[in-house]
């Protein structure tokens, strides 16, 4: 039950936990250990594309947290067929996933990958990047900046939660910066809509040909939204803007794609409800543990990971509320 003490970064060797794990497994592999051989069957993702319309597929992510059984494949990935080549939105959690995704995109479209878009900097969306040419991977300047700042920490945390699925995965930064506008792939034009709220920079993509809106993690459906880098007010504005875009179908970052705006409404209602609950708890003087224990409204019962994400959101919001809203009481302030 208790793990042995492991320093995050070994002070003597300067190795990260990940590098140390790799070194350790190399050492183990050099001995002949049948028990380890039997367990070392390579893990492989089975990607099951759903056809949304002609030339557009979505690979649904599991409606779960990142675990060693799903390998972190929890985010939706979109593949579009264009004259110029395959266009992919988000690359998934690991090198292994990215490689499978690249192969699948080529198989579905019969063409090499022309463009990869990254919707935002969260690890379940970007760690498949290694399977693609840096110059084909496009995103906003703020996403690159976010990855530069937190990418290594994300990698460490992914190795911890997804385990061996991450083998060989390293941070790879996108090599193409976009600030908006339209990219023309011959028979398909894709409009890039930079927004924010779920994170500091959320890239929404609109396929003019099919009318499909690829919303990234600004929209969650039947799966509770995650908030580690959220700005609730900005997110609400972005959702209102998304609701104003006429589209044939919405692909959320997590959850089923639908030809309704249910995802937008549900995400908006969730954010509004949990923000109200948490700020009310804060205003009543509740401690973090007491706020975490509050009962969620019954309509959230059907939403996957509601309790789990609510608890995370309490921990994301409480320190901000305390820093921002508790009045100054020290002698210097009087």
């Amino acid at each position: 039950m208790l793990s042995s003490p492991v320093a995050k970064r070994d002070r003597t060797t300067g190795l990260s936990r990940r590098q140390a794990m790799t070194a350790l497994s190399a050492t183990l592999a050099s001995c002949w250990l049948p028990a380890f051989d039997a367990r070392a069957l390579p893990l492989s993702y089975s990607l099951k594309p759903e056809k949304l319309t002609d030339g557009v597929w979505m690979i649904p992510g599991a409606q779960e947290a990142i675990t060693q059984s799903n390998g972190g494949a929890i985010a939706n990935i979109t593949i579009l067929d264009t004259k110029a080549g395959a266009v992919i939105v988000d690359t998934g959690p690991s090198l292994r996933f990215g490689s499978a995704l690249s192969a699948l995109a080529t198989e579905l479209t019969g063409k090499p990958v022309a463009r990869v878009y990254i919707t935002h900097f969260h690890p379940d969306h970007v760690f498949g990047n290694q399977a693609f040419e840096a110059g084909t991977i496009a995103t906003t300047p703020a996403v690159v900046k976010g990855l530069e700042a937190l990418g290594e920490a994300f990698a460490d945390s992914m190795y911890r939660s997804a385990g061996d699925w991450m083998r060989g995965t390293e941070l790879k930064l996108p090599g193409k910066i976009i600030e908006g506008g339209v990219e023309d792939f011959g028979d398909r034009r894709i409009r890039c809509l930079p927004m924010r709220g779920h994170t500091d920079s959320d890239l929404v993509l609109f396929d003019e040909k099919s009318g499909i809106l690829i919303a990234g993690d600004l929209v969650f459906l039947d799966r509770a939204p995650t908030t580690p880098h959220a700005d609730f007010e900005r997110w609400r504005i972005s959702l209102a803007n998304l609701g104003g875009i006429p589209c044939s179908r919405i692909v959320p970052g997590h959850g089923p794609s639908e030809d309704t705006d249910r995802g937008i409404r549900q995400t908006r209602d969730w954010l509004e409800a949990v923000y109200a609950m948490i700020s009310d708890a804060f205003e009543k003087g509740l401690d973090v543990s007491e706020a975490v224990a509050l009962e969620l409204p019954s309509w959230t019962n059907k939403i996957a990971l509601a309790r789990y994400e609510y608890e995370r959101t309490v921990m994301h919001l409480y320190p901000k509320l305390e820093a921002g809203k508790l009045p100054r009481v020290d002698a210097q302030s009087r």
Partner: protein, 266 residues
Amino acid sequence: MRLLASTFLLLLVSGAAYAAPPSDPLGSPMWADMVERVLEGGEVVFDDKVKVVVPSIVENQAQVPVTADARALPGVTKLVVFADLNPIQHVLTLTPGKSAPYIGFRMKVEQGTPVRAAAQTADGVWHVGSVYLDAAGGGCSAPAMARNEESWSTTVGQTQGRIWRDISGLARARFRIRHPMDTGLARDNTPAFYIESVKVTSSAGAPLATLQMFEPVSEDPTVTLMLPLAPSDGAIDIEGRDINGGLFRSQITAPWRQSNVVVPRG
């Protein structure tokens, strides 16, 4: 193994002086050592009346919310919080006086660890509640966030707070004192620098609760306490002191007793 052996030896040497501590339901290799060092070998029982609440998910190892609650146990004189597998195990000690044996705060963890609250009753017995906190590492060896900012020295000691009337009749105080709370273990070699004591008194001068804190308490300590506020009192005074002798004084007024506020002189 060596630890077990030395514990065994210690028991042999000390003979009947101590009863052996009850075996730890969490199976921590540090348990016997913790009883010896943090609880100073006193008599120990595991007691469900002492609750420790930690989150089921830890994303930020430098800010893990912990609530230690021994309100179900009468006559608590001391409430100690410790984490067996932290590099610095003793987190804090609350001497509640007439206030509730209850504290909410945030702490740093270096890895997954048992987190325990030990409530000592007047007969000297430690009543221990435990929980296992699953977490990744790094909270104690990461530099304080404030160390990335030039301005930390201008904000150190700034205090924010509020008090509420609790349904128990006590005053519920929540306050946050700006302080880097350096552990001395950070990779940037910053030496230990932390608030070591917080005294809470009524504005009329009656002691309400004393808090002894150590390095594992998170940066900008944010604390929830339940304090007895006499009807004649309209405010509480807080005095924090760090290990460099820095004194941080603040006063929180009870909004429902504004007319009773005693303004301190000098």
